[in-house]
Assembly symmetry: C3
Homo-oligomer: 321 residues x 3
């Protein structure tokens, strides 16, 4: 993926974690850890992005991710504008570019984009001026790079490393940008035992997720693993006759305390939220001592601060001159 | 009300003025007076809340109160995010907590909540982490503590004291959070002659508003008083056969110049806004020399700055260390 | 227009460019040029408006203009609140004043107003306290002063001067606030050859636009000119039988490369956006080397920073004391 780099090889956009080197991921995670705030203490305000303007453009509603990016930008001293666009899909690409060009002319330096269509962040990244960066906040089923980073950061914090861990991803992997970005992050950071667990209809194509084991049996799939990452299942999927619905899904693929007992005794449980409690996960597990789910959310702001800082480093350097 | 205090007795939440001591009210009002800005001068910017994040969650629309809290937070240097939630009442409590927990994980330190249901601010206050504060911006008919504080501040500014004043509250007292919070503030600050004036159907239960006189006759009720506080009447109330409607209401309970003449010659007139001119109050009175109505709005920002400062004192102290 | 001045003659409001002196325009444009940011460099943050509060009230949606004002305010260090009002036209004036008075009581110092009705900015300007300023962000068909300033700034940047230039304005001049404000700016800055080109039904009344030549023929109208300013045509106009519709409009009044060749060889092309490509302008011209359209947008923030700075000078001076 040279598409997201500058000619000198540095990261300009963050559209995907695919192709990032281990040391690039480690720099991002180290900066993120630096920005992690302890509960009950005020955020360490930074002015590293003073004079930088960030536009959050979300065509899919997501309060959590939008607020997370908004706070990350503000805590770095950037100016932020929020735009919610509801676009008919026919004119979506065109309208998005019109809006982006207008905002670019208003000196927006970073676009944070969430879009349900494949290719929109990349199209914008290919169209903007050389000093402008694009940060994907979720692209269709393809990519959600800051979620992948926060998942990796959460594992590092709770397990001390990624190298050599056994990680199981359970649920609707086929349609999940979270699973794709997590897979890129984990494999680059040294996870060799990565397992995909899903009903056959929710498994990705065999050409994707190279190097991962696959199983339709959750008990077998999570046996002895260090991390169980559950995914949200969209209730609309249950209309598909090949996917067990509601209670049946929970019976076959839901994470219960009994099933979790098959993983390592200190395995952690993750979920990108929002959860369908009683569908993909039991409440007692979601809120239990092995859960790292709220830690994931907490890491979101720090990871986004790190990504913004890294992408805008050349711009910020000019500001300091 | 120990529910809103920390173990050391200091104020952590502000859900109601009930149970606050006279000296606690006086500290809040003194800080508010400190933040009062003179017209035509820029606000004295403060950075006392730098690094503190405040979320305004309003499930009832209220531009005036929302902007008032937003400006209070910004003038103290806090980061602010606004969330407007339209929630079906069935899932309201649950969704509110989900949202609050997510924002708490994003390091929101103070929740400013307005909600039409009884008990939501208290439920959130009981659920958040120990360093997080909740400030009610209006809870059903129960409480509106910053409105009560700004009413008290307005009286102090115009009358020099609350002790020993005669104050009449006129209108839909039964459904009014404004009346309840004002009553708590005034009684704690030494008002012994507090009078409730309303049609019988809009009088509160006899178990409430202890120590107040009651009257269904406005002329008798405001005779010789120092402060006349009018309340807004919801036009929907007129569907109740026991309540005089529209013109009849104005004829029986509207505040006219003639009626105001029965109060002290220097009595002041207050109203929480928005006003129904010609229903509960005559325009000439609302805009006349005895009116303190715009002063009330002006005091809103200062009072909210004071409340935010007091509640977050331990957090801000950590930031300064 | 003394209506927008203080007793000492300085600019307090900016409702129209009509009546501003040449030196007043030049000061505004010089300050704007000072705030122009080079692409790829962070904005020069200023704190000249620290402690000043600005409310953007838009009753017509306009992302570009709203974001432009929002960024201008933030880059000067002001506190900003955005209000979008959808008002039934019957109560519009009244509700606008209620909102303005409430915000004024909350210590809003500058109102940025966009409104589809004639007279609303002036009514607000006449009603607010002496230290408060009103900046029109577009008033019906009457005035759009910051757009006129940014058009003049764009011409200055590309042509080095306005004096003695030949400028053609093409399109729906009758309903255009952009044309009216541009005309005021250009004439005051020394443009004597100003030409209005439109179908007869879109020409303004003969009592307006004094000193301008008029033509219904675009080829004749733009012959030899230095600047071609195209206007957006609302598609609703095509319902009028006297106005050529769609393709016919483009055939008669659209700016094509062939037509532009009739202007000076270094003529520039301007458009206030959003464009109807293929209706009033050919895409090749809009995106071509003679186009200054994106430069216009870029100048928007700088011009609005200059206007805010100039209007609030007395307030900011008090803040520095």
């Amino acid at each position: 993926m040279t598409q997201q780099r500058r000619p000198d090889g540095s990261l300009r956009h963050l559209l995907t974690l695919e192709g990032l080197s281990r040391s690039e991921l480690e720099v991002l995670l180290e900066r993120a850890q630096h920005f992690v705030r302890r509960a009950g203490e005020p955020a360490a305000n930074s002015t590293v992005l003073a004079g930088v303007t960030i536009a959050n453009i979300f065509t899919e509603p997501s309060t959590r991710t939008r607020v997370s990016f908004e706070l990350a930008a503000k805590r770095l001293g950037a100016d932020v504008v929020n735009l919610e666009m509801q676009l008919s899909s026919r004119v979506k690409g065109e309208s998005m570019l019109d809006t982006v060009f207008t905002l670019e002319a208003l000196h927006v330096d970073v676009f944070v984009l969430r879009d349900a269509e494949v290719g929109v962040p990349g199209m914008v990244a290919a169209s903007v001026a050389p000093h402008v960066s694009v940060l994907s906040a979720g692209e269709a089923h393809v990519s959600h790079p800051t979620q992948g980073l926060l998942d990796a950061l959460t594992v590092l914090q709770r397990k001390g490393r990624c190298d050599g861990l056994s990680i199981a991803i359970v649920g609707d992997i086929r349609h999940s940008r979270v699973a794709r970005s997590a897979c890129h992050a984990f494999q680059t950071l040294g996870v060799h035992d990565l397992r995909l667990i899903a009903p056959q209809a929710l498994m990705p194509e065999s050409t994707e997720f190279g190097g991962c084991a696959r199983s339709n049996d959750i008990a077998q799939g999570i046996a002895g693993c260090d991390v169980v990452m559950m995914l949200r299942i969209q209730k609309e999927r249950f209309a598909d006759a090949e996917i067990p619905a509601g209670d049946d899904y929970f019976r076959e693929f839901g994470l219960t305390g009994a099933r979790l007992a098959g993983a390592k005794h200190d395995a952690i449980v993750m979920h990108p939220q929002p959860m369908n409690r009683g569908v993909e996960i039991e409440s007692a597990v979601a809120d239990g001592p092995q859960s790292a789910i709220r830690l994931q959310v907490a890491n979101g702001v720090a990871v986004r601060m790190a990504a913004l800082e890294v992408l805008t480093a050349p711009l910020a350097a000019k500001g300091r001159r």
